[in-house]
Symmetry: C2
Subunit: 383 residues, 2 copies
């Protein structure tokens, strides 16, 4: 089976609990997906990733990044290795983004035409061309369970006209992505090994911060009939209430029987909020990136998220864990004092431990939301 | 019990198998001790360190560094935390060096007198004074199972006169270290918790590359009656056959019923060679430092050690593990191609995986030597 989405329960606020079945396994949603940009969730070993989160169940699905893997080590190399699952030894579900976001955010020079984007690599300045068709070829070669259409992510702020034009390009590219994907999806490295299963291609709703454009984009993509939809172009600098409104409105126009994914969010309280509104999937580099900068998350006695800067002097002799209610391997074993010492001393173990704690925190947050929706609400403990 | 050393079997070549009992556990010798300079074996989590090596038995004993921990986070802070074991959450045996080596190798300015050494911190240029008494106070506060006398490590090459004078200073400092240690050893943070046990202080034989000075140094230290002896001042740039000769000769003059420790060696074939000559303990940063530079160890079909530079292009599509005969978690799961990709991409996971493999390789090498000595020789597999 390539994909199925079984909604088991929908709560009053719109949040729903579902099972997303993919070629490499079943994902319980709503789900937070750790980001493994270059086929590694930074500083966290796959065996650890399989065990973090409540009851050591581990991350259910992770992301890898098409732009980065295309440049290094190259999608064809990964295809020859059997696909990104085998290449990095991760046998659970995966998703690749389309590469579009990094083409825009990281490339030193780029020229956008109707056909695609010419850009220079951020690594060595070499010239490359990404079209919807090329993004599909790269993603099929990588072989994640879910691929994303190639889109242009408009900057913020952007005028109505600029946003509308960009959206139009994105719709044309979505159709071209789909057409090319359908023709070539059987080339995924594990096609035969997994009984003829293929990847699933998700559409991406754009439209910036304009409600009417968001509606037009959602309608247009639903017409194209994708097995899942992302809400893109958010968390690009707009106020949080705008993000929230765009998500809330767009959710109304997307089919209820398909997974809905908000890309690139967010803080722990945001992922909880959006999941309760009915978002099924989210990803963000924040837990690992924050961890590498010494920022770790905890909850106070009322369950409110607290951000701790572990390098602060006040933790130098603190024998307690990051979060006494946390069930992660870091909180079970290491003190704030030791974590501060590692960070201040530049010890690589500090990056790992902070990242593991933060990822656990995110996974535990989503576990609690899932339990809430399923009607077996638990306390605010981070499990 | 503070220390006991029970030699169970001595092989023809001089290698012996023994049990070294320390306050935090029993160490089977000959043993290789991973180095955790700043209370972290770089890039390797303690839970992983407890499981690497043959049959997941893990590292038996690790080292921490007095100079580094004195400067950051400070020995008094660690004493208040309950000692370095508790501070870093490592409940197995540990050893601290005396700080002398780094005072000489890392400090930007230093003035050696009979009394001790004044130096400037390599971190912030602040001025500090290390004497034998101060080194003992710091090491007692840290609370490793084994402490080392404060010594001067002479540079190589050094004239006979310079080496003799330095050795004389080292002997005076050894006596002062011992006197101060005996007066204050009850202050170790776990003294009462472990039934009145104390650390053990090892002497360090110096004498550079001069056999008669080595003999004088060994005799003088044996007179002082330490519970164990290190052979110091080697692996400082001299040819390997000189190292070997200095070790072989010095071993003859040291008591057979006490542990003998060669500091700061070496490559896998060296640790094997010295263990078979009768060295009981060795430590080296090489497995982790090499790992962080992409150098990993393997054995060819004849059991000969091979050094692989994992970043080489020839491994880009190599689906095999570093060493097909290796039983470590890295070789069980990850390909050379993936390890190369991680290293070339600057992914922190690469440092971790290379270090874990190399540490396993060292521990497996010593496990094989122990089995050989015990008369149950195994193949050249790295286990």
């Amino acid at each position: 089976m390539s994909i199925s989405f079984d909604v088991q329960r929908t709560a009053e606020g719109g949040g729903r609990r579902a099972a997303l079945t993919l070629p490499h396994g079943v994902v319980e949603t709503p789900v937070f997906m750790p980001v493994g940009t270059a086929a590694s969730v930074k500083a966290v070993e796959q065996g650890v990733l399989e065990k973090i989160g409540p009851e050591n169940r581990g991350a259910q699905i992770i992301l890898a990044n098409t732009y980065h893997l295309y440049l290094r080590p190259g999608h064809e190399l990964i295809a020859r290795a059997g696909g990104v699952h085998r290449f990095m030894s991760w046998e659970r579900p995966m998703l690749t983004d389309s590469g579009g976001f990094q083409v825009f955010s990281l490339s030193s020079l780029r020229k956008v035409t109707q056909d695609g984007v010419e850009f220079r690599s951020h690594l060595d300045g070499s010239k490359h061309f990404f079209s919807p068709e090329h993004s599909m070829d790269v993603q099929i070669a990588l072989g994640a369970d879910i691929a994303m259409v190639f889109d242009e992510c408009v900057e913020h702020p952007a005028t109505y006209e600029r946003t509308r034009d960009s959206m139009g390009l994105t719709h044309a590219w979505a159709q071209r992505s789909k057409d090319h994907f359908e023709l070539h999806k059987h080339r995924v490295p594990w096609h035969e090994a997994l009984g003829g299963a293929t990847q699933s291609l998700f559409g991406i709703v754009q439209g910036g911060m304009y409600v009417d454009l968001r509606k037009e984009s959602a309608d247009r993509l639903v017409e194209m009939d994708f097995p899942g939809y992302a809400i893109g172009g958010l968390a690009v600098g707009e106020p949080r209430e705008v993000t929230r409104e765009m998500i809330a409105r767009t959710l109304e126009w997307l089919p209820k029987d398909k997974p809905r994914y908000v890309m690139g969010v967010g803080y722990p309280d945001e992922i909880e909020e959006y999941a309760k509104m009915g978002v099924d999937m989210m990803d963000c580099v924040l837990p690992t990136r924050a961890g590498r900068h010494g920022l770790v998350f905890a909850r106070d006695a009322d369950g409110v998220v607290v951000r701790m800067n572990i390098k602060r002097k006040e933790y130098a002799e603190d024998p307690g864990p990051i979060d006494a209610s946390c069930g992660c391997m870091v909180c079970a074993r290491y003190s704030r004092a030791y974590l501060r010492h590692l960070f201040v001393s530049g010890e690589p173990l500090g990056l790992t431990l902070n990242s593991v704690h933060n990822l656990h925190f995110y996974l535990a947050t989503m576990e609690r939301v899932r339990a809430d929706i399923a009607g077996t609400a638990r306390s605010h403990s981070t499990l």
